[in-house]
Symmetry: D2
Subunit: 291 residues, 4 copies
């Protein structure tokens, strides 16, 4: 934004998210600390969930203070209200591990959008159970590992490598870009709230395999895609974003798949972008999305 | 269309639909008969269904010939190819029976759109199991019957009255405008292919009751509505039209319902309009929609 | 929202909007006053406009305090920051004067949506330069005045009557529901920020008269509608909402008009609803819309 | 489609488009020739333009006949009705020359979609006035030429090279994938009907340069893109496809540009795909699009 036109221009822009049990005074206390840190609010949203009675807040501020100074100023209210908080610099690329398989449309888009500066993430590693994606990763200068998953042993090894890579690269987000494998309940639990999957249907319609064939058989007039957090309850994780596109009777299942790929790409990109901008908060089995 | 600008201007415009097992020569034979009837094709679509190997065709023509002359000219090909055909004047209002309940948003829209000439139907009767809709019917000068359905007996009586009304008013289309009752398998079968229901969800997601509460609980990011032909397989009839609208976490189930009503209205109106223009053909469990 | 499930349940819900030149501490001061008034924030958004360097805030709170108590508590920060503020009870119907002409689709929708509780407005009067809308107003129990505008004198008299009615009925919003007349610069200025017009095109495309004929001639693939605040600069007022719908080459200008009417209806309804919920704030020639 | 399941399965699938002055008997004559060629219609559309009184037809057939045999069979009706016809094999990649500049999002998508079989084109050459796109072309194995356009002389040379390449590579379609230069009236005329440009606004709104800045200044609620045939009347060529996407007040011109890029990509891809499938026909200043 052009607030930077203010003179003298504050040096830094920070984004913070807060979640806690709802009670009066939260915003007052937080904004008090922000004033204390010489912060000026540029954009903010708050919401009290009627389902969970929890309070959620996202705020972007401009200030000359350092990240440590801002965190110090906010320590008191965070402490007294028992707030789960995240405070970071706006635009810092989120360290993202991408898992994929044979289909490259989602991977190609994520890497391309990142390369032209449309997606605030950095991808230190791509792991796939096929080697098709190798050249796309290479083109974008991203390290790539091909690890087949054709047996229980290989699957366990694959997931152990994921665990390892998450630590090794300080991974903040794991993206299943058409990975086509079901994560084990254990790994799903470990990655809870930081693993996004793209499902190629408009959930909850057409769960499970081959949704485009199901969509064709059912003769639906719109097909869609759903980006959701991964949980051990398959295809039931909290939904982050959904898109649909109109189709008609002339489309074969193969054509629906081709048409749907574009929807998958856009839905996953949007979900990853929202997450990277810290606009997605978990409220039980639902998401709060502060656009 | 402005073909009427031709001089001398043909007096009449007809619409025809054809369906039969696919084989070569169908279009040639039909268009030959059209030429014979002095007809000029204004708009036409054909489609061969890979699923059923049946051929479907819709055509609009301009000609000076009478309806009987056109039908006579087409009798031969219809006979020889074993075609299911419908031939009618373009714009003749389709005689429509509307069944509804307490909610009036769909009824109000159907009657209003009809009154301003946006929907080529005429409604000789509205039957409802509540009397709320009475004044809307009255406002539009449409006869209204209130028949409670609070017992098995009343339900049977209601359906018998529907059967009766269909004959009495030469009904071509029965519209369930949020009727909220499940038709008996018998009546569903009798009205097969000429009874349209609006389901207040994006089928196949959220079948059954209270889809907006389901949608809220699931935290979906778009809600929708589905207009489909009624079959004895509840919520599984051939889909005619679907619409969706974006929602977010701030919406309560009640708000989702209000938002969804607009989608129901538009989806049902579109489906009824497509049917009335003879643009909807049945292909097994799917519909061919020639927009 | 279900916050009311809290026990003991706060008696009242208020909505407030604030606008002022941006500087640090605004939110802290306002939320401090809210705490003082025993208020709990349910939903809030803030935004600092990079174009005008003005700060905008909308907040909904729950409290046992009365409207006067809430206003008293907020008087200090409003004073010290030079804030333009509006504080009201959530859901209080906004007093709306509707001006229309021959077309009734927008009027019918506004009155119907209001009657079923989907639109938080009340309409004490409809004035039209044709009498076609009379029966729609009557059906909904709304007083109606027919005042022809066929001369400069009649136009002046019409506008004087509007001024009069605004005072007489404490009008907060004037809606031009396809009024089809151009307000005088004087009246436009007097109603600045509280008069919404629906333009039947996707502005800035196809300004002026007969946009559907223009759209047909240009062969556009989507047509739209635009709801905007009225200013003395015709069709250039701040845009509140826009919708589009896909069309194709088969559509005549007349058909485009019929299709477009649905878009006009939805766009105007949305804009009026957003205004009535105090979600629309003016930022120079643009609007801030806090959905 | 699955017609190929027929046994014995016809060897070949052809697509044909026809355009001529409207008169009775056209479809009958054409389908007669198709029968003669042993053809079976899989999908077809016809339309009579009320504006130009011209008749347009697109048909896909299955037959064992060779392309020459099909052409021979259709020679007679084409001759007698003075039809402009194109007859080709379905799926034959359309030879496409891509011109671009610095922005790579459209180029990357066209080449990627082509590489995964979603776009029935082949690109023998990419010419750009910047070298940024070089590596994308190289990645997809497409020859690339960098020809700066910084003077009238260089521009003339660039266009001469385009003329040359069109001949050299039997180019059927020239795509301006964010080429950002205005073609000379002469070249525009030479490429009439076979040159598609993507304009980064929802035409006719925001013609000319920097539409995203215009859109921000105007505060529009949706931005769009338009794919159109290039004519010597800048930004006024026949529209093939348009897409829009919702935005709000929080977006800077830079963010609008990033959001809009996705719309540009999808709109251009759709237009190129429709053209390559021979679904786009010219009707004066408008297009007939047979989806």
């Amino acid at each position: 934004m052009t607030s930077a036109h203010h003179s003298p221009s504050p040096a830094r822009r920070y984004v913070m998210t807060f979640a806690c049990e709802d009670r009066p005074g939260i915003v007052h206390a937080i904004t008090g600390a922000i004033v204390e840190a010489g912060g000026n609010i540029v954009e903010s949203r708050q919401f009290e969930s009627g389902d969970s009675h929890r309070f959620y807040m996202r705020v972007e501020i401009l200030t000359d203070a350092s990240l440590d100074e801002v965190r110090a100023a906010l320590a008191a209210p965070i402490e007294s209200f028992g707030i789960e908080a995240e405070i970071d610099e706006v635009g810092r690329p989120v360290r993202t591990l991408v898992l994929t398989s044979k289909s490259t449309h989602c991977l190609n888009d994520l890497l391309f959008q990142t390369s032209i500066g449309n997606l605030p993430i950095e991808v230190p590693l791509v792991i796939a159970n096929h080697d098709t994606p190798a050249r796309y990763a290479e083109f974008h200068g991203v390290p790539f590992e091909h690890r087949p998953v054709t047996s229980a042993e290989e699957k366990a090894a694959f997931e152990d490598r994921v665990r390892e890579a998450v630590v090794e690269h300080d991974i903040e987000l794991v993206v299943l870009a058409r990975y086509m494998q079901i994560l084990s309940p254990e790994l799903s639990a470990e990655l809870s709230g930081r693993c996004i999957n793209i499902h190629h249907s408009f959930l909850p319609g057409f769960k499970g395999a081959n949704p485009y064939r199901q969509a064709h058989a059912r003769g639906v007039k719109q097909i869609g895609a759903t980006a959701h957090f991964v949980t051990d309850d398959l295809d039931e994780g909290p939904i982050i974003e959904q898109e649909v596109i109109r189709v008609d009777h002339t489309r074969s299942p193969q054509e629906l798949m081709a048409i749907g790929q574009d929807t998958e790409v856009r839905t996953l990109r949007e979900a990853v972008g929202l997450f990277a901008q810290r606009r997605v908060l978990l409220d039980g089995s639902r998401t709060i999305v502060f656009r």
